[in-house]
């Protein structure tokens, strides 16, 4: 499904309203049938919780201000077990607290939707590799703006139920606090099977009661996978979920330089590249829409372009996305990290790098094989090696 086309169609059909990202995401969840949310305030996620708290009861759902992130994910776990659509979220730090539960929820095959309203893009590893124990993957959607975010939230609930696997929506401060004109009309998805695994008490005492469990055990008399079997089962689901990969690319056919970027910064990168193109530079872009499954094939194809000399990865971090880019490029061209850590001085919001001119400068430097310009103001923070470390 192409992200842009369906949103345009819906925009033409439906009334659009000016709405802040946080509210739009919450409304999109509710329109998807989400009836439970639990969260703990933390910048820049807090407003998402506020909107759920206000809107969910009106829709017949429940929003609990959990006393910790750990309890928030536990509550969502319980709600999911009953077959309800449920979500939780935080920023990266809060999601760190939830990691054990994320692992086990994935093993229990529960369709949790997770919101990361991240501080920058340095939670890429946390989202795509998972910070929890064991072999598991979450599908990760990375919207570039509020419009796409509204679509991705609905897609997240659908994919989570389709695969009985958590799906994470990777947003950020910009997404949460930007107002855009959007439509929250519900998207129609293909039908999914009944949740015959859910528990509601009705099977208790029947001899066929159900257990929602991450452990490979089952009720007496029913076949059990065992711990090892369960791990194998979940591991073999992973490659099957890779068909959910989504990607957008542009200007790659005759490109000499390809830049990979995701999320809000990708929109800046695309704009910078369109301007550089107008100035005659043959630069293209690849925008992963799913961070997991990562579009290795699309990156490989772009890097295999007949004139491609170099690939850059732009991200607001110390370099995480770049590792997946290197895997995708597979040695066809040199890969250079052209991003940087970027938040404001508080650490929560956007920083100096998220600037079209600055980004265009860096892409051009890459394209012309020049040294990357220093990010103004960052030199003073460079770690200096000390004597005892040499």
């Amino acid at each position: 499904m192409s992200a842009t086309t369906s949103t345009d169609e819906r925009d033409k059909r439906d009334e659009r309203v000016l709405m802040e990202g946080s509210e739009a995401l919450a409304r999109a969840a509710i329109v998807s049938g989400c009836r439970f949310f639990a969260g703990y305030p933390m910048t820049p996620f807090t407003e998402v919780l506020e909107h759920f708290a206000r809107l969910l009861p009106e829709a017949g759902g429940v929003c609990i201000n959990a006393e910790s992130e750990l309890e928030a994910v536990g509550m969502a776990w319980g709600a999911l077990s009953t077959g309800a659509r449920a979500a939780t979220g935080s920023t990266g730090q809060g999601l760190s607290l939830m990691q054990e539960s994320f692992s086990e929820i994935t093993l229990a095959e529960l369709p949790l939707v997770i919101f990361n309203m991240a501080r920058g893009q340095q939670d890429y590893f946390q989202a795509t590799r998972g910070g929890g124990h064991g072999d598991y993957r979450h599908i990760v959607l990375a919207p570039q703006d509020v419009r796409e975010g509204v679509e991705h939230v609905q897609l997240a609930f659908h994919l989570a139920d389709k695969w009985r696997n958590p799906v994470l929506v990777y947003g950020d401060y910009l997404l949460a606090h930007t107002q855009e004109a959007i439509s929250i009309a519900p998207i129609t998805f293909p039908e999914l099977p009944e949740k015959d695994w859910a528990v509601d008490g009705s099977s208790s005492g029947s001899g066929a009661s159900r257990a929602v469990t991450s452990l490979g055990v089952s009720k007496v008399g029913q076949p059990a996978m065992g711990q090892e079997g369960k791990a194998q089962y979940i591991a073999t689901k992973i490659p099957l979920m890779e068909r959910e990969v989504r990607v957008e690319q542009g200007f790659c056919d005759d490109a000499e330089t390809v830049v990979v970027a995701f999320g809000s910064p990708a929109k800046f990168v695309k704009y910078a590249i369109s301007q550089l193109r107008e100035a005659g530079h043959r630069i293209g872009y690849v925008r992963p829409i799913t961070l997991w499954p990562f579009p290795y094939a699309a990156v490989a194809a772009a890097a295999a372009g007949p004139d491609v000399r170099r690939v850059g990865s732009f991200e607001l971090s110390a370099g995480q996305l770049v590792e997946d880019v290197r895997i995708g490029v597979g040695g066809r061209a040199p890969v250079t990290f052209i991003g940087g850590v970027s938040t404001d001085h508080s650490g929560f919001g956007v920083g100096r790098i998220l600037d079209v001119e600055l980004i265009a400068d860096r892409i051009l430097a890459l394209h012309e094989d020049r040294e990357l310009p220093l990010i103004p103001g960052y030199e003073q923070y460079s770690y200096q090696i000390q004597e005892h470390q040499k």
Partner: protein
Amino acid sequence: MTIIDTSSAPTVPARKVEALKPDLLLTQEHHMCPGCGEPLAVRQFLETIEELGVATRTIAVAGIGCYTSFSGSMDLDLVQALHGRAPSVATGVKRMLPDSLVFTLQGDGDMVNEGLQEVLHTAARGEKVTCILLNNGVFGETGGHMTATSVIGQRTKNSLDGRDAEYHGYPILIGDLIAQLQGASYVARGSVHNAGSVARTRKMFKRAFESQLRGEGFTFVEVLTMCPTGWFVPTADGPSYMQETLGEVHIMGELKTDGRVRTTEELHAENVAKQRELDEQLARGGIEK
């Protein structure tokens, strides 16, 4: 000595007054150690659910400990939670299914160590669930280590000379903490060291479940159970060891009922009288249900 044949039901007219196992237990078999007190508690709350006729709206949430294996043998719809995390999971279940009977089954290591925050917040919020604590004063499953409920002087694998107040700190009387919270409607502490205490504990389960079903608030039943393996005592000494250690500190009784809160200290005196009364009933031929 004359031995009576007990291999089959009596041939003279007789009424079966106690079944082999609860209907809600799929099998009598389990891997608990000889002399373990946990199955005694499991029988009583399962029979209570049967007695109340609410099985088809009951959902259990199990923590992690020796008792976790009952997740498979209890014929109840169930969600398996992580160590300490059952109260939040129970919250999510009950909020989505407000007419259900939801209870957690947790050990002291699970609830009072790892999950102290969870149970306190769930109680404070008045979530209409029942948390059941199987308290044997040790982490049984991992081999008998000290928990937050282990008492001063108690010998465990990581307090081999006995729990020392200076070095290890003091035990937490979790029932007292919960009873203080406005969201808690019924808080009780039972035990399974003898038949009388088992019968008393049975009544606590019933009152807790009934309070939940009336929507009154959070309910809590703690049950002291024997763990001869974790205590390094012979199985036959489990009950007396319990009474000399945990039983001296975590006193049996109802800490909160009908809005009235009592402390553990206040429970001490009435326990002596209660035990005597139950022993007399047993001697006369059975405890009045």
